[in-house]
Point group: C2
Chain length 305, copies 2
């Protein structure tokens, strides 16, 4: 706050959301209040070096040094080595030492995490999960992923790979998943799987179901039933206060899937009403990633202090 | 340690394992070293009051006051109200305020927890899970249950009901479970379900399979495949260092089921070898419950200090 330009205090932390289409960046005060944001098309930033240069440019434009940066990225991350292993939708990005590259360029600690984990954190602190100590976040989109808040903290497991909800075995001997395993939740409800099954885009299937097309409605119901069963499994395993559903499906088709999800969950006889988690739609939309990255930067800064 | 009879220090904590057939009690030093143990048949202790009287008698016999008592019990526990809801195999025990009753009688804090959760803690501190920070414990017996050690601590969820591994949806539209839900893991692999399916006891099925009976071996393989798929799901969700399998099946039929469990886990293409949890047989046997209860008493004593 003693910074003569008044910027360091107000732009203490930054959060970056590295997506397949866009990279988004937000600058925030220590309390998480976002004061500036920027974005660029990934098509214009073809290499990791381009992304690093763009980030450095944004930090300069915002008036200088930040104290902590969080960055969310898709796919598996080697948390110990702080490396993006092989992110889907980022061609040519293999085993990129993104955190170390950014630290060198930006001059402050950079904290890399899986994007679905950071979305869970965003909804916990700023969205549909406020007030929860135990929260399961499910992202239901082209793929299916998730993030876990357990006892008030992001839980990432022994190697940073926990919360891979899309690959729980939903149907033994079910359809083959992109991961090579059979019957993954994602292979049944993911948008890409719905497209493979029906020959039209998942968006169209949901839109037709909304218009009363019986066949499309059947496809949606089957997907929602599988997701509902997964929510039952997640409830038995995590006993969460709430389950928050984000991703494209929650955004565009909540009205179509929510009744089936709630019904499957409510019909499970072992989950008594008083132990049923709240079922909520995510609130933060396309800015979830950058908000989660800001929150992650803040948490890491506090725990380092 | 200044106690004139030298007992208070050596018998600082006690752990009670309330089972359907036996109640077991152990006395331990502050470091968890067990110095004395006792047990009684539940058939001789028909009411909760009888159990409380027996426990008080054991404390007296061991020379007087203990500082912390842990107690593990089967079934659902209302952690907030510290009440046993309706333990299976304990007829007539409904909504028993066991922790409060014991506290009044014994004169020190009493900590009630689910028995599978305490078994996880026992294996973590004294058994097959030593050195782990993230451990999934599965008890595979007449029923299927579990306990979760996450980031080094017992995780029980928002209402104390996490880790109900037996009721994850293993097969949608699968066999009806005792809980009323279809396709629970327990409904496929639990000993009681195997008995219902085959008409002979699970013990006999495993024994015949061990002797080369093809039909029995098929039943065992099916159960082990379902359990293997559950281990895949648990790995995706928790990313544990190790999965420890306890309960009657692990004790008596490990040799029969381990190869299938390992194969299903190793065949999952998304679980790369370097992120595969260790698969271990539980080490502590029938004393698991009392050891876990002692560990719980110790942890609660430390966190209260």
């Amino acid at each position: 706050m003693v910074d003569s330009r008044g910027l360091t205090g107000a732009r203490a932390v930054a959060g970056i959301d590295l997506g397949g289409t866009l990279v988004r960046m937000a600058f925030a005060a220590c309390d998480g209040r976002i004061v500036a944001a920027a974005r660029a098309r990934m098509a214009a930033l073809t290499s990791p070096d381009d992304v690093v240069r763009w980030v450095v440019g944004q930090v300069r434009r915002q008036g200088g040094p930040v104290r902590s940066v969080g960055i969310g990225a898709p796919g598996l991350i080697d948390v110990e080595r702080r490396v993006l292993l092989h992110p889907p939708n980022l061609r040519g990005w293999r085993s990129v030492r993104l955190a170390a590259m950014l630290e060198e360029a930006v001059g402050c600690p950079v904290h890399l995490e899986n994007d679905a984990n950071l979305a869970a954190l965003a909804e916990l602190n700023r969205g549909a999960g406020r007030g929860c100590r135990n929260l399961v976040y499910v992202t239901w989109s082209t793929g299916v992923g998730g993030g876990l808040i357990l006892d008030g903290r992001l839980f990432v497991g022994a190697r940073g790979l926990a919360g891979e909800i899309g690959h729980l075995v939903a149907e033994p001997d079910g359809p083959l998943c992109g991961c090579g395993q059979r019957g993954c939740l994602e292979a049944i409800c993911g948008g890409a799987s719905i497209e493979r099954l029906t020959g039209v885009s998942a968006k169209q299937v949901f839109s037709r179901a909304g218009e009363g097309d019986t066949e499309a409605a059947g496809v949606v119901r089957r997907a929602a039933r599988a997701m509902g069963n997964a929510l039952v499994t997640l409830t038995h395993l995590f006993d969460p206060d709430a389950i928050v559903i984000g991703g494209g499906v929650a955004t565009s088709a909540w009205r179509l899937v929510q009744p089936t999800l709630a019904q499957v969950l409510n019909d499970s006889p072992f989950i008594q009403p008083d132990r049923r988690p709240a079922l909520r739609r995510a609130l933060l939309g396309p800015r979830t990633g950058q908000i989660g990255a800001v929150e992650w930067a803040r948490i890491q800064m506090v725990s380092a202090a």
